[in-house]
Amino acid sequence: MKSLAKLLEAAMFAASRPMTLDALGSLDPDSSPAAVAAAIDEIREHYDVDGHGVEVVEQGGGWQILTRAEFAEAIERAQVAVRPQRLSAASLETLAIIAYRQPIGRAEVEEIRGVAVGGVLKSLHERGLIDVVGRAEGIGRPLLYGTTPQFLEQFALRHLEELPRADELAIALRGVGASLIGSVDVN
């Protein structure tokens, strides 16, 4: 590997969070963004071709060295690391709404889900997946919530735009509707 690639590898090894392109670039001011991107590719290829137990993953707005999925169970069995807990269905629903409608207030989330979400919002906030991003105009100036970089990290998303657009989802919906009509005809 070139010396720039080695430097970036060392930095990503030391960091516990994804490193942004800016952060990686600042390690060597003489290197262009293109050179940094090429160096990242070099490390990634090196890990893949030589067959390492870790890989370079792009997520949460940056790059991070992660263990390969196939070793997760063995690592957990040996209690070297613990997998994060799965989120409940209620938490996931709330998170999905916030991800798409942010910044969004509690009342709107409740309107879409049809249930009270106060407790769920609190636990999502404690987990660092959402944060207060502002206050709405109007009576009481309710808090507005948005997702955090940790949300992207935990769901292996590079950025929010990686989620399907709302209109793409609508097409999928119409497909479901059509199949339902079809099955009614059989009856």
């Binding site: 993953v57 994060p84 879409i112 049809g114 009270a116 660092g128 989620l163 339902l180 009614v184």
Partner: protein
């Protein structure tokens, strides 16, 4: 023999049991009914679905949860509105199910995102980063060891001690009241004149212990009939008058 009876009694009085794992809310339950019945979401047979919704929440013990009850009521209202005949030629008639359908579609759309997030999150759960820390703990400031030598610590202590002012210490001296002394002073004043006022005896810069001594001396002398204390009005100046009897004595 009594056991089955007891059990059924318990079931009847079971009260509020929410099957949290099964449905996340009334819309979730409604959507699952629509799916099970294989009906068109744009043309919901509202009477049938409303009846099933009611039956399901009562069998699941959800009929005491406000959100499910509210949905049951909403379904009944839509059912009633559907039964009302539309006025002929009235083009402004709106399907009473429209709002419900809009909400169901919105909810369904969100559920698709949930599936996607679940899939992505599951994949990510199988990969560890270095120094993985539980998400909740991540918010707290990182526990990093302090880079500190003993010399630094002692220097800091020295700086603090230098900067600190000499503490102001107050010494509390117990001082006994001098009642006999005060009595002598009162007698001395009264030997010159028949009456005196409080402020004739107490000077402006008397110490508290002196004031208390005089007060006790006056009370003591009044008790023994040596003098008489009068006060013309509340908080007025106290007049101290020699008792005629003691004068005679």
């Amino acid at each position: 023999m009594t056991l089955p009876a007891l059990r059924s009694h318990e079931l009847e009085g079971g009260g509020f049991v929410v099957e949290l794992s099964e449905f996340t809310g009334p819309l979730d339950l409604l959507l699952s009914l629509i799916r099970d019945e294989q009906v068109d979401i744009y043309d919901i047979p509202i009477a049938r679905i409303a009846e099933q919704f009611r039956a399901r929440i009562s069998s699941l013990g959800l009929n005491e949860a406000a959100e499910y009850l509210e949905m049951a009521a909403r379904l009944l209202r839509i059912k009633a509105q559907m039964l009302l005949p539309g006025v002929d030629g009235d083009t402004s008639w709106e399907d009473p199910r429209a709002e419900l359908v809009r909400r169901l579609l919105e909810y369904q759309q969100m559920r698709e995102v949930v599936d996607l997030l679940e899939h992505r999150g599951e994949g990510r759960r199988h990969q560890f980063a270095r120094q993985w820390v539980p998400q909740a703990l991540d918010i707290a400031p990182a526990q990093v060891p302090l880079a500190l030598s003993l010399v630094d610590l002692l220097a800091a202590v020295d700086r603090v001690l230098r900067a600190a002012k000499e503490p102001t210490l107050h010494e509390v001296v117990p001082r006994a009241l001098d009642v006999p002394g005060a009595m002598a002073a009162v007698r001395a004043v009264l030997s010159l004149r028949r009456s005196a006022r409080w402020f004739d005896i107490i000077s402006g810069h008397s110490e508290p212990w002196q004031i208390l001594s005089v007060l006790l001396a006056l009370l003591e002398m009044a008790k023994s009939g040596e003098l008489r204390l009068t006060q013309a009005r509340p908080f007025g100046s106290v007049e101290i008058r020699r008792e005629v009897a003691s004068e005679a004595a």
